[in-house]
Each structure stands twice: as structure tokens, then as C-alpha cells.
């Protein structure tokens, strides 16, 4: 017979340790424990069985994984923290004795700790570090915008944050890894694809933040400490992977903080600034061509081996020669750093692939922008440059502008204030156009974005809310992306919006429909009647106990079989078979176990709530569009009475 096992010596009871016990075991103060937890990434756990862990009590109690705390016991930083504490006591004593010289000397020799090993320990691989970058970048972006005189945080730290975040953004910019941008009421969200994982960070709007009273900046500072180190190492890795020197040199720290201020150098010492410094590129062109030839010859060889595209390759050669001149402008010189070392060739190819891989990177490559002083320069500069555009701004916004305001090559001027004097043939557009273009992945029409016009809604590229409602604007965008010819009047047709809404609901439900119903009949009365019928049918289906998905599927199936049925057939009645099915379901539900029944009701409740929410949004939209249409009608009537000639223009 084995030994009798005592309670609380094995298993869950022994795997967890409460916070107080942990603090006592480590012999540190709570504040130091907090600091350690933040740095080491130790967090409390919710044990699966609270009673077993808590000695039979269910009282709320913070517990940590015991091994985490045991690892902490050997943590070098813990030792350093103790040293720092002892040292501080020495300083305090010297100050108490008024031994200023001693105190000063002690102050100078204060022990410090580094977080390198923590970064390596928490993120054993680079990919893992990238995964955790979201919070780090958002935090740095926030601290970069804090006022330097705010006293809560040292100005040097704020400068460091600003530098790190702009270094990262600069990397994203020159490699064109930016994917999505979203201007929200909280700030501007950016999403970039780093090493295959999407990093999303938020940058607050460029206004001074007032520091709230109920925020403990010591905690924030500890996090900031960690995040600074993390982002620094990540930046180093990102730059060095591109064969660039890190940290990049800052041209003139005072005048141009931000993206334009960096001078990026390759390891070999070649200067290449951002993507707009053409002079540096000219120097390297000869060497580059040599390298490209090498690359091409290798590619040709590969092509011969593959035997597939051998003939095509030959033809393409000529075309590519012609295109070379264009490509010179597109590919940042930094990446194509010349070298005659043959080992460099693969890495060069990789780098070129990174840049030219995404076609959307060239989105703005034929555009030249000029930013007025009232638009957020840093954000727009970042976005435009990341998508290959050229951008200039007035002196007052900072140095480093690529074009002057009276430059004839400027295609778009971004303004956000009425009454700007217009010059040349350039388009005067509001900043939202740039962001919408990026999210749409193509150059949109500038109609609706001009100054003084009502802007179309700015939608989140990250998708809608939980309720599964898709607004009409998103549907029309989806239809366009699917290749369906969008009418000239984009979305300002009432009927189109409603119909598209219905289709959108189906898309979210997963039913694959073929958007053929984006057509405009014109008469609202008929449409509203149809709506009512649809609503009635929905009600009937609900009475029959059909779930919404079933109903929608059924509806989709009906729509497919009879594309445009007669008006009468739309009025459906619950057939006997349906009623029987509903009854059978109700009966079968009596046989459900309590657990299953509760789960079922929970799921149904959630689904219904979502549906209600979506329906509410849809109703509100319809009501709004009806109101707008009525207003339009009234207005057009007045116009027709006064000026019959204007009718054609109004009736779009």
C-alpha cells in the first residue's frame, strides 16, 4: 500500500500561491513585487477549481502560479532591486548627516539594471516579440505625445519614446508594410504586417493630453521601461535585417522631429533617405544595375530549370529593361544597397520582394501631395510615404518638405479649411480621402471629398461590430471589390442602400448570394411595400419557430429558384409541414437535459440580441434615408418649379 496522501500537498492546492504568501516568500515590498511582475510578465491565474486552491474557501483571492514565483527567486533583477534599496538607504543616511560629497558620489554610483535578459526570456524568438508589440507601440505613441513639462514623466523619456516610435514608423514606411489606417474618435489606428503577424497600434490625436489624477504613473513608467527596451530591440532587428544601420542618424533634431528627420544608412555607409532622396539613388545606379543583372541571370537559370516560363522570360527581358527607370524611383535605395559580395544577392532579392511584393505599396506612387498646415502632418506623411507617394508641406509645419507649394507636379493638395485659394489643376481634398484610399486599396474618386462637401462615412477597415450589421457603404465597397460595376452615383441612391443592406445581412450570415439585386427601380412606394412584406414574412417565420439563419437560408434558396417572382407569391404562409416541424422541435426540446437546454437558451439569447441590435441599426438607417429622400424630393420640386433646366442634373 502506498503512502497516504495528505490533503493540500499535491495538485491544484500546491500549484498556486496567494499574493501575500508570494510577497512574504520573496521578502520584498508590494511595490517591488508589482514592478517585478510587470517586468517579468507574471500575472495572477484563475484556477479551474477555486475551492481546492483556496483551502475550501470560495472567497475571492489573487493567486499566482507557484513556479512563476519560484523562478522569481533566482531573478537577477530581484537582487538588483535589493541593492538599489540598500544604496538608497546609504544616500539617505549621507544626506541626513549632511555629507554632501559622499551623497553625491553615492548618487553617481547607483546600481542599475538592464532588461535585456528579460526580453530574451519572455520572447525566445523574434516572432513572439512581434506578437506583443501592439501594447508597446500604443504606449510609446501615447508617451511621445505627453507634454515634456508635465512633471509626471521625465522629458528625456518622452524624447526617447518619440524617437523609438518614429524609428518604427520609419521602418514601416520604407518597407511599405502598412496595411490599414483608421481615424477614430480616440486616435488613429495603424495596422502593419510585420513578419506575418498584424500589428495594430493607436496614436492619439496630436493634442496635448491632460494628465488625469486617478492614474498611477509609476505603474505606467514600469511598463514603459519594458516596452522601450522591447521596441528598441525589435527596431534593431528590423533595421539590421534590411542591412541598415541602427539607430538611424537624425539630421536635425530640433527642426524636424518625425519621419523626415532620419538619415538611413546601410551597413556599408551608403546614405539613403526615406524614399524621396533621388540624388543618393543616382550614385548607386550603376552598381545596382550590375546586381540586378546578376539577379536576373539567376532568375533566368531558375526559369530554364523550371522549363515553364523560359520563352516568356526572354520576352520580358526587354520590357523589364524599359521599366528599370521607373523602378529606380520606386524601390528605396536603402534596400538595394550595392555590394559585389555574391552572398548578398539572396538577401537583396528578399528585400526587393518585401517592397515590391504588395502591389498596394505603390498606391500613391503617381501622386504628389501637398499638406496644408491645418492637417495632421505626421500621420498623413507616414501614410502617404508608406504607400509610395511624394509629400510636401509648408515651412511652418517643419523642415524636410519634398515639394514646394507652387510646384507644378503636385496632384493633390490636402486641405481642411474652407476658403483656400486654389491654384493649378490639383485636386483640393480632405484628409479622409487618403485614409479611405488606403483601406480600399485603390485610388478612389475625389468626388465627395472636396472641401465643403459632406464626407462619406469613414468605415473601420477592421470590420463592423459584434452585431453583424454591415452598413450600406461597406456593402457597396464590397460589391466594387467583387468586380460588380458600381453605378456612377455611388451610394447616394436610397433604394440601393436598403437593398444592399439586406444583401449585407446575408453575407454576414454566410449565405453566398450573388448581389444581383443591386438595381434601382426608382419608386420608393413599391420598395416600402416590399419591405413590409419581407417584414411580415419574417414575423411569420418567427411565429413558426424558425431561427433567423434558417429563415435567411430559406429566403436565399427561394430567391435563387425564382429570381423575380410575381408579387403575389411573396406572401408566404406557414405550411402544415412547417408547423409540424416547429411542433416536433418544441417536443424534442422537452427531452433536452438541463445543461443542454440552458446552453441552447444562452446561444439563442445572444443570437437574438445581436439580431435586434442589427435590426435597430438597419431601421434607423432606413428611416434616415427616407427622411433624406423626402427632403431631396422637396428640394428638387422647388428647383423644377423655378428652373426646369436643372432637373436633369438633380435626377441622378
Amino acid at each position: 500500500m502506498g503512502r497516504i496522501q495528505k490533503k493540500g500537498e499535491k495538485g491544484a492546492a500546491n500549484n498556486f500561491i496567494s499574493r501575500n504568501v508570494a510577497v512574504r516568500k520573496l521578502q520584498i515590498s508590494l511595490a517591488q513585487f508589482r514592478r517585478l511582475c510587470i517586468i517579468k510578465g507574471i500575472y495572477p491565474r484563475e484556477p479551474r477549481n477555486k475551492k481546492k486552491v483556496n483551502k475550501g474557501s470560495t472567497a475571492p483571492r489573487t493567486v499566482y502560479y507557484k513556479k512563476d514565483i519560484q523562478y522569481l527567486l533566482h531573478e537577477p533583477i530581484l537582487q538588483k532591486l535589493r541593492e538599489i534599496r540598500a544604496h538608497q538607504q546609504k544616500i539617505n543616511r549621507a544626506i541626513g548627516k549632511e555629507e554632501w560629497a559622499v551623497a553625491k558620489q553615492l548618487e553617481e554610483s547607483k546600481p542599475e539594471y538592464r532588461l535585456d535578459h528579460i526580453i530574451r526570456e519572455r520572447y525566445p524568438s523574434f516572432n513572439m516579440a512581434v506578437r506583443d508589440l501592439d501594447d508597446a507601440l500604443s504606449m510609446l505613441a501615447l508617451f511621445a505625445t505627453l507634454p515634456t513639462h508635465s512633471r509626471v514623466i521625465k522629458p528625456s523619456i518622452i524624447r526617447k519614446c518619440a524617437r523609438l516610435i518614429s524609428e518604427f514608423q520609419h521602418y514601416v514606411m520604407i518597407t511599405g508594410r502598412l496595411k490599414k489606417v483608421f481615424v477614430s474618435i480616440k486616435g488613429i489606428y495603424y495596422q502593419a504586417d510585420i513578419g506575418g503577424s498584424d500589428i495594430t497600434w493607436i496614436v492619439p490625436h496630436p493634442f496635448s493630453q491632460d494628465t488625469p489624477k486617478d492614474v498611477d504613473f509609476r505603474i505606467m513608467a514600469t511598463f514603459l521601461d519594458l516596452y522601450e527596451t522591447l521596441v528598441g530591440f525589435v527596431n534593431y532587428k528590423l533595421y539590421s535585417d534590411l542591412n541598415l544601420v541602427y539607430p538611424p542618424k537624425v539630421k536635425d533634431e530640433e527642426s524636424s522631429s518625425g519621419l523626415a528627420g532620419f538619415t538611413v544608412e546601410t551597413v556599408e555607409g551608403k546614405v539613403l533617405a526615406g524614399s524621396d532622396n533621388a540624388s543618393a539613388g543616382a550614385v548607386n545606379r550603376k552598381q545596382r544595375k550590375e546586381v540586378e543583372k546578376r539577379v536576373k541571370s539567376i532568375a533566368d537559370k531558375i526559369g530554364e530549370i523550371s522549363k515553364k516560363a523560359a520563352a516568356e522570360d526572354g520576352e520580358d527581358d526587354e520590357e523589364e529593361d524599359e521599366e528599370e527607370e521607373d523602378e529606380d524611383k520606386d524601390i528605396p535605395n536603402a534596400i538595394v544597397a550595392p555590394t559585389d559580395a555574391s552572398e548578398m544577392v539572396p538577401s537583396l532579392r528578399d528585400a526587393a520582394k518585401i517592397v515590391t511584393g504588395s502591389s498596394s505599396h505603390k498606391l500613391f506612387h503617381s501622386c504628389v501631395f501637398y499638406l496644408s498646415r491645418e492637417v495632421p502632418r505626421h500621420s498623413l506623411e507616414f501614410v502617404i510615404k508608406a504607400f509610395g507617394g511624394k509629400v510636401g508641406w509648408p515651412e511652418t509645419s517643419g523642415a524636410g518638405s519634398a515639394v514646394a507649394e507652387d510646384d507644378a507636379t503636385i496632384t493633390h493638395q490636402i486641405v481642411d479649411r474652407p476658403g483656400a485659394t486654389k491654384q493649378g489643376t490639383r485636386d483640393y481634398i480632405q484628409p479622409q480621402w487618403v485614409y479611405d484610399c488606403v483601406n480600399a486599396g485603390k485610388i478612389l474618386k475625389t468626388k465627395g471629398y472636396h472641401i465643403g462637401e459632406t464626407l462619406p462615412a469613414h468605415l473601420s477597415p477592421f470590420g463592423g461590430g459584434k452585431e453583424g450589421y454591415v452598413p450600406a457603404e461597406a456593402i457597396s465597397a464590397l460589391a466594387v471589390s467583387k468586380g460588380i460595376e458600381a453605378e456612377e452615383e455611388e451610394g447616394d441612391n436610397v433604394v440601393g442602400g436598403i437593398m444592399a443592406d439586406e444583401a449585407g445581412a446575408e453575407v454576414t450570415e454566410g449565405a453566398d448570394d450573388d448581389d444581383d439585386d443591386v438595381e434601382d427601380d426608382g419608386e420608393e412606394e413599391i420598395e416600402s411595400e416590399e419591405e413590409e412584406e419581407v417584414y411580415k414574412a419574417e414575423l411569420e417565420a418567427e411565429a413558426a419557430g424558425l431561427s433567423y439563419t434558417e429563415y435567411m437560408q430559406k429566403k436565399a434558396a427561394e430567391g435563387k429558384t425564382t429570381k423575380k417572382p410575381a408579387e403575389g407569391s411573396k406572401k408566404r404562409k406557414i405550411s402544415a409541414a412547417e408547423a409540424q416541424a416547429a411542433e416536433e422541435k418544441a417536443l424534442a426540446m422537452t427531452m433536452m437535459t438541463k445543461k443542454d437546454r440552458n446552453l441552447y437558451h444562452k446561444i439563442e439569447y445572444g443570437r437574438k440580441k445581436k439580431e435586434e441590435e442589427a435590426q435597430k441599426l438597419l431601421d434607423r438607417r432606413i428611416a434616415h434615408q427616407k427622411k433624406e429622400a423626402a427632403a431631396k424630393k422637396g428640394a428638387s420640386k422647388e428647383v423644377t418649379e423655378k428652373k426646369p433646366a436643372a432637373k436633369k442634373q438633380k435626377k441622378i
Partner: protein, 588 residues
């Protein structure tokens, strides 16, 4: 000689200089202070130099100057020490130099350099890392922040803009309960977007979440809710069962508490709160006979023996056996003969079997049994000779068993185990099922011992029925549950079903078909297929077949009783029909 105070006063009044005179204690005489003295005293009081002629700021006379004089005051030569470096100082310096050389002490520059050279601030920390490194198995990564949706946009679609009521509702909510931590707002252009005032708070909350929030892995189930509903065999294969309403029996003016279908299936007797018992022809709904009493009728039961026609009624403290004389003449005569014989016999028990008077006899009364407590339940043994009654308040004699042929009454239990709700005879064995509030006890009446004690785990048992084969029992309870017991399997229910919305009033088996039914205060009658198999390794099959919304709920009472036809797949229920009438309904 010393003066006293009076003398002193008098002399001071005489002497004009007394105010400026001071007693010199040493000499013992008064000294008159001069004007100079007084001035000096005043200067001292003002903290000035006493001598008024002293000038503290008179120009200095430089006796020894920094200028080298042609004729110096002292002719001593410069000491040698002034030209030789200090030995002790050199010792001290050498000590430091040696310490620096040996690295014991570091200069500021050295320290700075060392710090910089120790490790570059950033370097390739993942130089030789395993790119496929995995997290620690116990590590739970923090979930990422939710990505923003359309409503967070600075210029969202119009439908996302909340109304004033919604904003008020949002403000009234506890911050933790709000679906979003911001109010969507439409800005006409980007320049009108201001700073978000809670930005720092939100970042701070995220920080707190990261290091304070307990983490656990929650598996998110992604199942089709329809898959949770059990797949049942087709109802078509399980026919026959009642499917529709056929006959409504109208006539009672108050709540119908009980009814019973006679073993031939021709007659239906119902007892009601209007103190009547009506005998209906089942197929036509015609009232054949009716009796009027003084008290509401609690229970009506036909004798299960088709050779006799006896109706047992329970009302208040009486149990009356009636010969309704509605069947064939043979049966009526046989019944009367059976009753006529018993009066010759001596009753061995204390219970009085009363012979009704001639008037009552003419109405059909044959035997009247009088109890001390009110009787709620009458149950016949399958052979029709015995019947059992229940007086829940009767204590030890709550259950009594009566034998007609011997005109005797027995109280099988001396002790009460709780409030007896129902009793039931086993269809084959000499067993008696006694349902108290919580348990069902099964007694062997011959061996006089407890066979089973069924534990349904419900709060209050309302009804009970035994399967015609005797191995299964169904039980309804006031807390909405219906339990199916398999006596061979366990004392715990084989299946507990909870589908009624209020208390179950009755649960009953069909005598010949695999059906059972339950009725409830929610006004419904539910019919189930309940197949019992002969082989022991097969569990009973329970399939819901039909749910009738049979009656209206009046004063929170719905269907009070339900019973199957003895042969046909028909079911009868009693309750209100909503318009103040009380009816019985037959579903076929």
C-alpha cells in the same frame, strides 16, 4: 542703616534727582547718574556702541601692504617649504594614482566609457534564437485589445449615432456595464476632432489588466444550437396516439376535480366542486345519470372489474360506493347481489360500514363509509374486491384498505412516514405503493415489509401511476418534474423530465398501449410514447408525441386530471374552457 519703603518714598518725593539716582550697594550710598551716563545707557538699550564718539567705519590704515617694499619690515628669507612639494600630499595623491592604475578606483570618464562599452544599448538579441520557440505550456498570453469597429470612427455611418435617450441610458449605466466605453459622434471634418480625454486612462486600464487581471483559458464553444436538440424517432412510427380534440363534455358548473372511465370504456363519471357526480356516455357526451351531494367530490373511481359496476366516491369524510345501474342488467344485478351478501357478515374491524337508508338506496347508494378525517383518494385493486383510501391527515391510519366481500377495513401501517399523497396497488404483485411528500414507499402487503423506497428528489409529489407490467412507475410533482422509475434499475429516477411550466397535477399510463400522459397547471396535456421492453438490457424508450393546450388556466389551476381510455388511444382531461364553464375534453 536701612530705610523702609515709606522713608524711601518720602525722600524720593523730596529729592528731584531721585529718578536718576542708583543705590551703590557696595558703598551704601546713592549715586546720581550724569547726563553722559544716561546717554550711554540709552545707547546700550538700543544695541548701539556705548561710546558715542567711537567710529566703527573709520578708514583702515594699511600698515603692511601687498606691495613689495624697498625696505621690508622683516628681513627673514622665504622658508624652503614654500618651494618644495608637500610629501604628505604626494603620498595621498600617489595612493589615488596607484588605485587608479590598479583599477581600484575609476574616474568619471572611465565609468562613463565602461558603461557605454559594457553592452550596446540595443543589439541583435535574437541572434541565435530558435525561430520556432514555443511558449511555456502554462503560459496564457494576454488577449489583444479589441479592434475598433465602425461606430468608433470619427465620421461613422448615421445609424451608429445614438439618440439622446441612448446617451442618457449610457450615462446612467455603470462604466463596467457599458457596451462601449465611448459615445459615437459624427464629426463633419477631421479638423473638428479633438483629443480623446480618456486616452491615458484607457492605456492605464490596459496596463492594470495586463498585470492584475487573473487569466484563465476559456474554451469558446462554437456549436450549432440545433445540434443540442436530441434526435427523436419519427412520430409517425409510434402511432396510434391522440392527435386531436374530439368531444367536449359540458355541464359542470364548478371545477371538475376528478373523473374516471369505466373498464368497458363506455361510461365516464366525473366529480366536481358543484357537489355533483355526472355519468356521461363516453362516445356521445350525453349525461346518463347524475347525483347531487352536500360536499364537493374529491375522487371518483370505477371498479376495474367489468363483472361489476361500482363507483367509489370520496367526499369530505365519507366514501360512498354506488351502483349506477347504467350498464347491462346482468352486471347491475350481479353488483346488487354482491352488496346484499355483505350485510350478513360480522365486521371484524372497528370501521363502521353503514347501510344506506331506503331513499339513498334508491339513488344507488350501496355502502357508506365514514372517516374521522377528510378522504382525498380512492384506489381500487385490479380484482375489484379491495380498495384503498387515503386521509392525509389521518396520521398512522392515513391509509386504509377495505375489502367489500368481507366487509372489513384494515390500517396496514401503524406509523405515519409523512403526509401521504397517493396510494396505488401493484397490478400483479401484492404490493402497495405509498407516495408521501418526498418519497414513494413500496410495501409487500403479505410479507408486511418495505420492498423499495423510491427517491425522486423532488419537493412535493402530486401523483403517481404504476405501469401495467408493474416494473415501472411514473410520478408527477408540484415542482414541474415528471420522473420515470425503473424498479429493476434503481431507486433513483431513470429519467426526470421538466417540460411543464407549472405544477404537474396527474401522470398516468395507458392500460394497454405504450403511452403515458401528464397534465399540468399550465393548461397543457402532454402525451408520450413510453415503451417498456421485456429484455433487461434495454432501457425504456420515452418519446414526446403531442402537447395539447387543453384548458385555460383559471385561478392558477389548469388541467386537474387526465386519464386514458382503457382500450382506445384516447385521452380525457378536465379543466376550465375559459368562459366560466368547466368541461371535460376527449382527444382521439
Amino acid at each position: 542703616m536701612t530705610k523702609d519703603a515709606l522713608d524711601e518714598f518720602l525722600s524720593s518725593m523730596d529729592d528731584p534727582d531721585s529718578w536718576r539716582s542708583v543705590l551703590n550697594k557696595l558703598e551704601g550710598e546713592n549715586i546720581v547718574l550724569s547726563d553722559n551716563d544716561l546717554e550711554m545707557i540709552q545707547r546700550i538699550q538700543k544695541k548701539m556702541i556705548p561710546d558715542k564718539d567711537y567710529d566703527p567705519y573709520e578708514p583702515t590704515v594699511e600698515w603692511f601692504t601687498s606691495k613689495t617694499e624697498v625696505m621690508p619690515l622683516s628681513a627673514a628669507p622665504e622658508p624652503k617649504g614654500r618651494f618644495i612639494p608637500s610629501k604628505s600630499e604626494q603620498g595621498q595623491i600617489m595612493k589615488i594614482v596607484r588605485a587608479i592604475r590598479k583599477g581600484w578606483v575609476k574616474t568619471k570618464e572611465q565609468k562613463q566609457l565602461e558603461k557605454e562599452q559594457a553592452l550596446p544599448k540595443f543589439y541583435d538579441i535574437w541572434a541565435n534564437s530558435d525561430p520556432n520557440a514555443q511558449d511555456h505550456p502554462m503560459h496564457i498570453p494576454a488577449p489583444r485589445m479589441a479592434l475598433p469597429d465602425h461606430r468608433e470612427s470619427y465620421n461613422p455611418p448615421v445609424e451608429y449615432i445614438p439618440t439622446d435617450e441612448e446617451i442618457a441610458e449610457w450615462n446612467a449605466l455603470d462604466p463596467e456595464l457599458r457596451p462601449h466605453n465611448y459615445i459615437p459622434k459624427k464629426h463633419p471634418n477631421m479638423r473638428s476632432v479633438g483629443a480623446y480625454e480618456r486616452f491615458i486612462n484607457e492605456r492605464f486600464d490596459r496596463c492594470l489588466d495586463l498585470y492584475l487581471c487573473p487569466r484563465m483559458i476559456k474554451k469558446r464553444i462554437n456549436i450549432d444550437p440545433e445540434s443540442l436538440i436530441p434526435q427523436l424517432p419519427s412520430r409517425k412510427e409510434l402511432e396510434p396516439y391522440p392527435t386531436s380534440l374530439s368531444i367536449v363534455y359540458e355541464g359542470h358548473t364548478a371545477r371538475i376535480r376528478c373523473f374516471s372511465i369505466d373498464p368497458t370504456g363506455k361510461w365516464l363519471a366525473s366529480g366536481s366542486d358543484d357537489c355533483t357526480v355526472r355519468c356521461w356516455e363516453l362516445l356521445t357526451g350525453r349525461v346518463v345519470k347524475s347525483w347531487k351531494f352536500d360536499e364537493p367530490v374529491m375522487d371518483v373511481r370505477w371498479n376495474p372489474n367489468p363483472a361489476f359496476s361500482i363507483l367509489a366516491l370520496a367526499m369530505e369524510n365519507d366514501v360512498i360506493l354506488i351502483n349506477p345501474s347504467i350498464g347491462t342488467k346482468d352486471v347491475t344485478v350481479a353488483t346488487d347481489e354482491a352488496f346484499a351478501n355483505i350485510w350478513n357478515k360480522e365486521s371484524p374491524t372497528k370501521m363502521e360500514w353503514n347501510k344506506p337508508g331506503p331513499a339513498d338506496f334508491a339513488r344507488g347508494y350501496r355502502v357508506v363509509l365514514h372517516f374521522n378525517k377528510s378522504v382525498t383518494n380512492v384506489v381500487w385493486h385490479r380484482k375489484g374486491d379491495y380498495f384503498s383510501t387515503v386521509c392525509p391527515e389521518g396520521g398512522g391510519s392515513a391509509v386504509s384498505i377495505h375489502q367489500i366481500s368481507k366487509k372489513q377495513t384494515q390500517h396496514p401501517f401503524k406509523k405515519s412516514y409523512g403526509l401521504v399523497q397517493k396510494v396505488q396497488f401493484h397490478p400483479k404483485k401484492p404490493w402497495l405503493f405509498v407516495a408521501t411528500q418526498r418519497y414513494i414507499r413500496v410495501y409487500n402487503l403479505i410479507q408486511q415489509d418495505l420492498v423499495h423506497k423510491l427517491q425522486p428528489g423532488v419537493k412535493w409529489i402530486s401523483s403517481m401511476d404504476v405501469h401495467p407490467q408493474g416494473d415501472n412507475v411514473i410520478m408527477g410533482s408540484y415542482d414541474k418534474r415528471l420522473c420515470w422509475f425503473d424498479l429493476d434499475l434503481s431507486a433513483k429516477p431513470y429519467k426526470t423530465l421538466r417540460y411543464h411550466k407549472s405544477a404537474i397535477r396527474n401522470a398516468t399510463y395507458h392500460k394497454t398501449l405504450p403511452l403515458f400522459a401528464s397534465c399540468s397547471d399550465d393548461g397543457t396535456v402532454n402525451i408520450f410514447h413510453g415503451m417498456v421492453y421485456d429484455s433487461l438490457d434495454q432501457n425504456p424508450l420515452i418519446v414526446p408525441l403531442k402537447s395539447f393546450k387543453a384548458h385555460e388556466v383559471v385561478e392558477s389551476l389548469g388541467v386537474l386530471h387526465v386519464e386514458f381510455h382503457p382500450v382506445q388511444p384516447w385521452v380525457v382531461s378536465c379543466g376550465s374552457s375559459g368562459d366560466g364553464k368547466f368541461t371535460l375534453k376527449l382527444f382521439s
